[in-house]
């Protein structure tokens, strides 16, 4: 089942995405953010909270005088390490308790600092590699079933109820569990600490919660003989920190988009571009598959109209990911089944879009999101829309398949809803398993024409973006009709230009691990 598509147009789109992203990467290379710096500390081993429950990575980065930020946190922290002989965790506690300040060690030579950091950097890189190897070992011993991989969310707000729900879902057949975050966590400029039981529409992403869920899933993986993947969100103001926590806790996937925060969360674009880059280098190295957020174009605006924007965003996300050293096999580009159920031949459009994405990104583990916007209180109708989504997914060989819930318009999923959703997907994907292999599209018919239209409109859109530059394009509302000023939005105050002596030991280590050129 192949669409005849204009491969020259695809080629031109990719080239334009490169042209769009290249100048942004230059910008990124010259800047850093507080979140990147906190992430450096976390990777070194800093964790826990200090005064007023402030996470120590925040406390320490914030303790750095603003004029010193441009050099990065690593050198000042390294100086303290060298001088105190403490390990990073102990040093952080000491700083949190006021027993030391970074300023004390200003005179320690950089070389000593680098030397003191080196073993901890190596240890972190080793730990990441170990966790990755552990995933590989488990996956080869207890492999997942064939894709589409059934993915469900848990979102009770309480990590222990979530655990119950996750285990039940795995028993029913889920292969990927995502713990939805509490509303608003993406706008917090810190990562909460410890196990949590009170979230709102979701459960806080904390390292303790990651551990609790990872442990439960490893246990049920062994029992069920299939590796179950764990997903969370490296989105919002703490992208790199969550990416580092996820690396250490062996999460397998992270929601991570190069523009989602800008467009849909009003996070400053510079902050986002810098943060996504560092987080993606980490994800690349940890073997974590990212999930991009193109589905959001479709839920907030008309899905038929937004299809070209989705494709354009996929090209851009792909390019950003490549530049962070990420191979195609880790780039879970997003798409969604969001065309109104009332549209005649809407199913044909969905098939066209899903197949187009499949062919343009043949090696990407595509993430296919279920119908949400047009789901209503009519759970019976909703279950049917989900069924055609499931059919489209198996026909077009999507990889990561978010199971749609018949109660999508009503509440975050009940345990029983998840079971029905998985039943739905399993029934459809089994009874129509090879349907996609057994049909061809009529040349020049409605499906091919739609795919061709989407591609050519995407090309036009990318041409506009190339001309303006990405930042300017976002400023003028090219994406999702949302306009965001380059220096507006949340988290802009956490962005800073690097000095000549800026140092981030993990940047070099990660670039090296990914086979990327060194910066500058």
């Amino acid at each position: 089942m192949e669409l005849r598509i204009d491969s020259a147009a695809v080629h031109r789109c990719r080239a334009m995405a490169q042209a769009v992203v290249a100048p942004v990467e230059e910008f990124i290379a010259a800047h850093s953010t507080v979140a990147v710096e906190r992430s450096v500390l976390r990777l070194l081993g800093v964790d826990g909270v200090g005064p007023d429950e402030i996470p120590l990575p925040n406390y320490i980065v914030d303790s750095l005088p603003i004029e010193q930020r441009p050099h990065g946190i690593a050198l000042p922290f390294g100086r303290a390490l060298a001088q105190t002989g403490l390990d990073p965790a102990a040093l952080a506690v000491a700083i949190g308790e006021g027993r030391h300040t970074l300023a004390e060690f200003d005179d320690v030579p950089s070389e000593a600092a680098r030397g003191a950091l080196a073993p901890f950097v190596a240890a972190a890189m080793h730990r990441i590699a170990e966790r990755r190897a552990e995933r590989d070992e488990r996956l080869s011993r207890i492999p997942q079933l064939e894709p589409p991989l059934l993915y469900v969310i848990v979102a009770s707000g309480n990590i222990y109820e979530d655990r119950t729900a996750a285990v039940a879902a795995v028993e029913a057949g889920a292969q990927i569990i995502a713990v939805i975050r509490s509303t608003g966590q993406s706008l917090l400029d810190f990562v909460p600490y410890g196990p949590t039981t009170e979230g709102f529409g979701g459960t806080y992403a904390t390292q303790a919660n990651f551990t609790i869920m990872r442990t439960a899933l490893d246990e049920i993986s062994e029992r069920s003989g299939r590796y179950v993947m764990l997903t969370n969100y490296a989105s919002g103001l703490c992208m790199p920190e969550i990416a580092s926590m996820a690396a250490l806790e062996r999460l397998d996937m992270l929601l991570n988009d190069s523009m989602y925060g800008i467009l849909f969360r009003d996070i400053n674009m510079k902050r986002t571009f810098i943060d996504q880059h560092f987080s993606r280098m980490l994800n690349a190295c940890s073997g974590i598959i990212i999930n991009t957020g193109e589905d959001n174009y479709l839920t907030t605006a008309d899905a038929v109209e937004q299809a070209p924007a989705v494709l354009a965003s996929q090209f851009i996300n792909e390019e950003f990911a490549h530049r962070a050293g990420m191979p195609d096999a880790q780039i879970g580009l997003g798409d969604a089944y969001e065309i109104t159920p009332d549209l005649q031949d809407g199913f044909l459009y969905q098939v066209a879009q899903a197949q187009l994405t499949r062919q343009i990104f043949p090696d990407a583990p595509l993430k296919y999101m279920p119908p949400t916007k047009h789901m209503t209180g009519d759970i019976f109708k909703g279950h049917l829309i989900d069924a055609l989504f499931n059919l489209t997914s198996v026909m077009t060989k999507q990889t990561i398949h978010l199971c749609g819930m018949l109660t999508e318009a009503i509440h975050t999923p009940f345990l029983g809803d998840r079971a029905l959703a998985i039943d739905n997907a399993q029934y459809i994907m089994n009874t129509a398993r090879h349907f996609g292999d057994e049909i061809e599209f009529k040349a020049g018919g409605r499906i091919e024409t739609r795919a061709a239209d989407v591609l050519s409109q995407c090309e036009a859109l990318l041409a506009r973006v190339t001309e303006m530059g990405l930042m300017r394009a976002i400023e003028t509302g090219v994406f999702a009709d949302v306009k965001r000023p380059a220096d507006g939005g949340r988290g802009f105050d956490g962005v800073f230009a690097r000095s000549d002596t800026y140092f981030n030991p993990f940047e070099s280590a990660l670039r090296q691990a990914a086979g990327l050129e060194a910066v500058r």
């Binding site: 729900a165 009519d378 759970i379 009503i410 975050t412």
Partner: protein, 246 residues
Amino acid sequence: MSDQIVKPYGDTMNDGRVQMSFTLPISWSEAADEAARQLVAKMGFEEVQVVEGRAIASGFSFFVVYASTPHGIDAAAIKAPSAKAHAMSMDDVDAFVRERIGRKVRVAGACIGTDAHTVGIDAILNMKGYKGDYGLERYGMFETMNLGSQIAVEEFVRIARDRELDALLASQVVTQKGSDIKNFTALAELLEAEGLREKVVLICGGPRVTNLMASELGYDAGFGRGTLPSEVAAFIATSMEKRGLR
């Protein structure tokens, strides 16, 4: 509330969440949604959410509701033993009968009353069986008769006497207006009246049958949806042995 008491589970223990749908014979309007809400509240539910309400015809509206029930049940205290307790293969059952009964067991099955749904009882009796589990006709130690459909209870009892049956298998699929209960009861009573009840294993089955209901109707066992032939064969053999029917 004792911790044995369980309530419906939405996403949190004891939240009591239940999904409902129904039609009301009224035209749709916002007031109809409110009527549905009040009706469900009258049924004793709390936190009633009418999540869908719409006209499905003039004078009829359809509703989907989520609500919480304050009721719970002590599930652990419920006694409803399954007739499927003894798991035995065809060979096990044949060996068991050979050793413990010492002769072939005579079994007949029928759709009684006006019921013509033979697929279920055929699944139990026919050679071919059901879901890969062979039917009673294939058992070496069973002599099996399939009387087919629409067998009057009088006829069934006559055959039981004439053929000296050891086990009677009665099927009812149609349940409208309680016809299944009526027919099952009539069969049990007639066997009693004819003095045959003690001599046979009396079994009923059908998609709405439960073992509990069967025992309330005076049957030895009842088998519901998804029954496999070997489960029935095992019950017949072990129960004959237990009751000393040789």
